[in-house]
Symmetry: C2
Subunit: 147 residues, 2 copies
DNA sequence: CGACTTGGTTCGGAATCCGAACTCACCTAT
DNA sequence: ATAGGTGAGTTCGGATTCCGAACCAAGTCG
């Protein structure tokens, strides 16, 4: 375990679950549709013991659920829970950042609004003021994260 | 180095820069206002050699710039570049996820809209349709990330 | 001068990671 | 029924990487 780094911070908490070299890539694969051990393994070029461990951790934390989907050869699949699904904003943010600043030449995957097919944007919104705004207009209340 | 895992994916690219146990926490500290080596070190309970290495990497990748801000004892500070600032959506997303699903009992830091003081939300928006939408309404074009 | 601060670097030992080989339960072909 | 194959792991060294403690250098203060 990580010895509580003095700071009770939700980013810290999230990273205790997600913050190693593979976990987020496993999640990316899950969002792409992978469900079974072998699928993750094929797509990710990760060592099997590490994959086993990461999947187990994610199940324990409630990000995946492990379900038997076939009895007679007993096979199970790892599905994103709602908690896991809720990571999509984080992955989308990472993806867009990579697109923008690490563009490796080729055209990256573009996310679009399903209904109209136009590219999506990600914004901070204030429902009171009913407007979107930039990172510079964020303030924080107690602990002090200030973009 | 990571041997290119077959897949030219921006999430992969981002994680090659950010994806280890400490880098995102260093960025969190930067957003909180830390600039100097010692500040990061004090707040993060990280080994100095690792901190040295991570800061160097982040400077090389263009996330931080290292600037001399005092000559006569030569002191420099690490400042977020625009590229670094652009990570705020990712960190905000992680923080909100942690708030929501890993709530460690106490009241977490709340982000608010600076102008009005009301809590902020983070949404996907389509400027064509001029509306916000949920992860389930995202589609992807070439490579295949589909929340 | 000698103590102290800042920003590191140099060490081993400890934890992690990884590839390859092995296991185990089951299915399919002969 | 035996042989071979597959999917999902586990076990085993060896190679990385991490980390704590100690050391170093430049500058400043008393």
């Amino acid at each position: 375990m990580v010895e509580a780094a003095a700071d009770s911070c939700s980013i810290q908490a999230s990273l205790d679950v997600l913050g190693d070299r593979w976990t987020m890539l496993i999640l990316r694969e899950a969002f792409r549709g992978s469900r079974r051990f072998g699928e993750f393994h094929d797509h990710l070029d990760i060592a099997k013991p590490v994959l086993t461990d990461r999947l187990k951790r994610l199940v324990e934390h409630g990000v995946f659920s492990k379900q038997l989907y076939c009895e007679r050869p007993p096979r199970h699949e790892y599905r994103l829970t709602e908690m896991g699904m809720a990571l999509s904003p984080a992955l989308v943010a990472l993806m867009r950042w990579g697109d923008r600043y690490l563009a490796s030449g080729d055209a990256p995957t573009v996310l679009v609004h399903d209904a109209c097919g136009h590219p999506l944007d990600q914004q901070f919104v204030c429902w009171e003021c009913d407007l979107t705004f930039t990172p510079h207009e964020i303030d924080s209340r107690p602990g002090g994260f200030r973009p």
